[in-house]
């Protein structure tokens, strides 16, 4: 099994833009030998039903993630800070979409 892992292609994270003007969204990952192949494979795997007009791929090992063990320290303190939401303003009637 470890021998298998040694020859396995690197993992890539795939981001697809669904249409012009929108942002690229993470949609999954895949294995590919290099960046060029990763883009092609992303096209095959993630855009075969017209899901996108642009693809980004990023080597998974280049992503630095927050530590799941730190989750409570990182995110729980925000729970009771409602004042950080701009929900206490009186909006003029003329502003429709806020």
């Amino acid at each position: 099994m470890s021998e298998q892992a040694a020859v396995e292609w690197p993992l890539w994270e795939v981001f697809v833009r669904s249409k012009a003007g929108l942002d690229h969204k993470h949609c999954g990952s895949l294995h590919a030998a290099d960046a060029k192949m990763a883009v092609q494979m992303a096209r095959e795997v993630y855009t075969r039903r017209q899901e996108g007009c642009s693809i980004w791929v990023v080597p998974s090992n280049q992503i630095t993630a927050s530590d799941p063990g730190e989750k409570s320290n990182y995110f729980d303190p925000m729970e009771d800070k409602v004042y950080r939401h701009p929900s206490f303003y009186q909006l003029p009637d003329a502003i429709n979409h806020m």
Partner: protein
């Protein structure tokens, strides 16, 4: 009880269209055999996508051929109810996915590259066909062929320029398939009639450009062009290899066993 076999007419335009449509149908069927067997999941999807692209092109081309033929045959009847001699694809398309193994990846990618290059050049020319229906089919298909060519070319270079093992396998595939390419560029009366009608090019006209594409990719891959072969297959005239009957048995089974069956 099986539904009676149908025959197509001898009009050159019908034959010209069927040669292309059957090429897509039969290679699409072959590529479909990779589904579930490719070396990695990603390539499994890629090969299946390509098979479906080819089947899509075959559907449009067979439908159009059926209209020109005027016997009221639709795409399904043309795909499933002809006997072997009525299929007009070059033998190259019906060859199995490898001579030494049932799923030879190098063999498959090399054939895909050669065929998609040929289709790309053909569709480019057919966009200017005097037949508006054919021109529209070609305009859509040309993008699919361009992508397939790129995908296969990348594999040819990757394997040819890879390890000694992958290069040797690629070179073997090159030698094995080489004699079957001749038929793609063998002009006959059907081509002459297509040129005269403005329907499309004689396939022989595509040879210099096809060779240039191949030479470029083979040079990038560090592979050697095989020596010219005098062998000439004749699938375009309905004379097929021993592989065709087996392929058709699988392709046609359901429609022959349940005539007119739909889902």
């Amino acid at each position: 009880m099986s539904e009676a076999s149908i025959k197509v007419g001898h009009q050159p335009a019908v034959q010209y269209l069927l040669r292309i449509g059957d090429s897509c149908l039969i290679l699409g069927q072959r590529l479909g055999e990779w589904c579930g067997h490719a070396p990695v999941l990603e390539e499994d999807l890629a090969l299946s996508n390509m098979a479906l692209d080819l089947i899509g092109q075959a559907r449009a081309l067979l439908t159009h051929a059926g209209e020109l033929d005027g016997q009221g045959h639709d795409e399904d009847q043309l795909a499933f109810l002809r006997d072997e001699r009525q299929y007009l694809n070059p033998v190259l398309m019906e060859l199995p996915n490898g001579f030494e193994a049932s799923h030879d990846f190098a063999f498959t990618q090399w054939r895909n590259f050669a065929v998609s290059t040929w289709l790309l050049l053909l569709y480019r020319r057919l966009q200017h066909s005097s037949d508006a229906g054919l021109a529209a089919i070609a305009a859509k298909a040309v993008k699919e062929a361009a992508y397939q060519q790129q995908h296969a070319a990348d594999w040819v270079v990757r394997l040819g320029d890879g390890t000694p093992e992958s290069a040797a396998r690629m070179q073997t595939a090159l030698q094995q398939l080489w004699p079957y390419f001749n038929e793609l560029f063998d002009a006959d009366a059907v081509d002459a009639a297509a040129v005269a009608q403005g329907l499309g090019p004689a396939w022989s006209e595509l040879l210099p450009e096809w060779q240039a594409h191949l030479a470029e990719v083979l040079s990038d891959a560090g592979l050697t062009l095989p020596k010219a072969s005098a062998f000439m297959s004749s699938g375009k005239r309905g004379i097929h290899s021993e592989h065709m009957g087996h392929l058709l048995a699988e392709l046609q089974y359901l429609q022959r066993a349940f005539p007119g069956g739909r889902w």
